[in-house]
């Protein structure tokens, strides 16, 4: 009897894949991982940019200050409202649009192309456009509502703390719904036609078909798109920053915006980083959910 052993894999062949992967890994480490570690490191220090020589270790002091900071809690509350309204609204609008675009009608290709416009426009352009729409002196929204006799006086949508956040949420919903529409449309096209044919032969109503075929067929897409959107919307500050800069007062502060203002305008990078790190930890749940889904799909 002879013992057979697998021939040893040459070293070069074992190392080669790693060598070929290494540029991508190194770049990712340098531009993603390093800043993350840096932010974490800064959050544990007293670091004010205009005193660059003072970089004192303060442990968790910045996090404790955040915990005791009423603006942190206000911003967190706004962030929750911000995500909880924007993402479902985008999804419902996206779903309706996708169902519509999945019908047969003339110029369908053009309609599908046009619907992507809000998504394709730069956020700053969108924000400036909507600032004018909401303007209390010249804005078209007030003008329409006044003409329709729905309101008696112009409403300063962005200057009134009761409406400012919701006005921006509407803007972001408009900007983001095409993402859902396109994802869902792709999902719809992957549901075999034969299911619907079989269901209609069995006498299932339109609603039953939607409920028992379309929705289950879309669940994977909806789940992934929603998770991605939650993460993006949560972090999105450009539209708020351009439209109100967080004002009036703290009425449109969200946590990422607060971290940005603290660090970039206040130059307090220590505290700003602590806010950013806290928010990342809060978002981590969604990130893990997404990664597990993504991992399962690959597997």
């Amino acid at each position: 009897m002879t013992v057979t052993t697998a021939p040893p894999v040459p070293l070069a062949r074992r190392v080669l894949p790693l060598v070929m992967l290494s540029p991508a890994v190194l770049v990712t480490l340098a531009i993603v991982f390093l800043p993350m570690v840096q932010a974490l490191w800064m959050s544990l220090h007293d670091y004010v940019l205009f005193r660059p020589k003072n970089f004192d270790w303060v442990g968790l002091k910045n996090f404790i200050s955040a915990w005791n900071d009423p603006v942190f809690w206000t911003s967190l509350r706004h962030t929750v409202i911000w995500i909880a309204i924007t993402v479902p609204a985008q999804m419902l609008l996206g779903l309706a649009t996708a169902l519509l675009l999945n019908q047969n009608f003339p110029w369908r290709g053009l309609a599908r192309a046009l619907v992507i416009i809000p998504w394709a426009l730069p956020s700053v352009v969108i924000a400036l456009m909507w600032v004018w729409i909401y303007d209390s002196n010249y804005g078209v929204l007030n003008d329409l509502l006044l003409r329709a006799n729905l309101i008696k006086t112009s409403i300063p949508w962005l200057a009134d703390p009761d409406t400012a956040l919701y006005a921006i949420i509407l803007t972001l919903t408009w900007q983001g719904f095409p993402f859902f529409a396109v994802m869902i449309l792709a999902g719809l096209q992957s549901i075999p036609k034969s299911y619907y044919e079989a269901a209609s032969i069995d006498g299932a109503s339109q609603f039953r078909q939607f409920w028992h075929i379309t929705l289950p067929g879309l669940s994977g897409v909806l789940m992934t798109a929603t998770l991605l959107r939650v993460i993006w919307v949560a972090n999105s500050i450009d539209v708020i920053f351009v439209m109100t800069g967080g004002g009036p007062g703290y009425a449109t502060y969200t946590l990422p915006l607060y971290a940005f203002i603290k660090a970039r305008t206040g130059l307090d990078y220590g505290y700003g980083s602590a806010l950013a790190v806290s928010f990342t930890l809060l978002l981590l749940g969604f990130v893990i959910l997404y990664l597990r889904r993504a991992g399962r799909n690959i597997a």
Binding site: L49, F50, R51, P52, D135, S136, N137, Y138, K152, T153, S154, I155, P156, L158, A159, D160, P161, T244, G245, G246, G247, P248, G249, Y250, A251, I261, R264, T265, G266, L267
Partner: protein, 408 residues
């Protein structure tokens, strides 16, 4: 040994040659500035400078105003800052603390142009210890714009006191198109970033009110802020969008006829006249609570300590503050020249606005020359003012927040 020596000599010669060649080429000045207007004179000035100073290249970059200082501070720390830049006095303490500025005293001593700079401007822009880091390049003083036609229609005269100001603002706030809603407001208040000048004219003018301990939280200090809040909440003489309004909005509303008064400086007078002709004029801000206070709007240039070629940078900034060039510069920015020659022959503005500026000079002031002022102007004041206007905090609480910033 000889071989080594020859090698060293050759190497040294080569290095020196490269250094010389590099030195000749490296005369480059990266300059940052911020101009709102599209018709920007900088390229003409750069061309003229480069023709007069062969070998020096100036890269002038127009950085958007809204993020000008954010960009400046972060780029200085990152080591990618400009060699020279346009800077305001309230940024000086912070820049000194960062050790970012190069003292100009040695250059100023030998420069012909020093005697040309208007009296006092160099003293005003010196640091707390007397060192000069700034070279003035333009200045303005804030005053009150008003609509002459609306005042004439209602038989009003430009207000000289806060009480008159309030009465005029109330009278001017009216419904002109008969829909039952006001469409003209008495005063365009800037509640967003940069609006502290409006608040300051109505508050810091009061007897004994400044940024010293207990001054803002005193009865007179709180009364000043309360006056502003009341104008918005009770008298409703500001447009409803006032809490968020910035430069663009207050100027637009005034030019569009939505407001009858606002506070700004001569820099916007050309546009005002273009939009309203002789229906606009200006007077000094009203006297409130026993005194007057208006902002001195300064703009200087500075050389940074990290500049690659400090002498070239100095040559460029001193060029901008020299007679002739300074007039060119100010014709474009719409502000006032700092040189005596240019001031004497100045015809860049309508006379009534120059008069309002000159009459405001005796009570023109700076915000405190301390590091806190940057925070005051950028974050503390805008947020506190907006919260006070929308009723989230009281005037007392707003002043207390500023008090904490300066005196804690």
């Amino acid at each position: 040994m000889t071989g080594f020596n020859i090698k060293t000599t050759v190497a040294a010669a080569l290095l020196a040659g490269t250094a010389l060649a590099g030195g000749a080429q490296a005369q480059e000045v990266n300059f940052w500035y911020h101009f709102d207007n599209a018709d920007n004179p900088m390229s003409a000035l750069v061309e003229k400078f480069e023709a007069e100073n062969p070998g020096i290249t100036v890269n002038a970059e127009n950085v958007p105003w809204n993020s000008y200082y954010d960009q400046l501070y972060t780029s200085i720390v990152a080591g990618t800052g400009p060699d020279a830049a346009l800077v305001k006095l309230n940024a000086q303490p912070r820049l000194i603390e960062m050790e970012a500025l190069e003292p100009l005293d040695a250059w100023l001593k030998d420069w012909d142009g020093t005697a040309e700079i208007q009296d006092n401007l160099l003293t005003l822009t010196a640091s707390a210890d007397g060192t000069h880091y700034y070279l003035p390049v333009q200045y303005v003083v804030l005053y009150l714009y008003y609509r002459t036609d609306m005042f004439a229609e209602l038989g009003l005269t430009p207000p000289t006191t806060c009480d008159e100001f309030r009465d005029a603002a109330k009278a001017l706030t009216r419904d002109t198109d008969g829909d039952g809603q006001p469409d003209v407001y008495g005063f365009g208040f800037r509640g967003g970033k940069g609006g502290h000048d409006h608040w300051a004219s109505l508050t810091l003018s009061r007897e004994g009110v400044g940024f010293g301990p207990g001054e803002l939280t005193s009865e007179a200090g709180v009364a000043g802020t309360q006056f502003v809040v009341d104008l918005f909440q009770k008298d409703k003489v500001f447009p409803p969008s006032a809490p968020n309004d910035g430069f663009k909005e207050i100027i637009g509303a005034f030019q569009g006829g939505t407001t009858a008064m606002t506070i700004h400086h001569i820099g916007s007078s050309a546009d005002m006249v273009a939009a309203l002709g002789d229906k606009v004029s200006a007077v000094p801000v009203p006297e409130c609570g026993g005194g007057r206070w208006t902002s001195f709007g300064d703009e200087s240039t500075a050389v940074f300590s990290a500049a690659q070629d400090k002498d070239a940078a100095w040559k460029w900034i001193s060029f901008l503050s020299s007679p002739g060039n300074n007039a060119e510069f100010n014709k474009a920015t719409g502000q006032l020249p700092v040189t005596k020659t240019d001031s004497a022959s100045w015809d860049g503005h309508e006379k009534r606005f120059v008069e309002a500026t000159v009459n405001s000079l005796p009570f023109a002031n700076f915000l405190p020359n301390t590091s806190e002022t940057a925070d005051f102007a950028n974050t503390v004041w805008p947020v506190a003012m907006q919260r006070a206007l929308i009723g989230e905090i009281t005037a007392q609480e707003m002043n207390a927040e500023i008090e904490v910033l300066y005196n804690d």
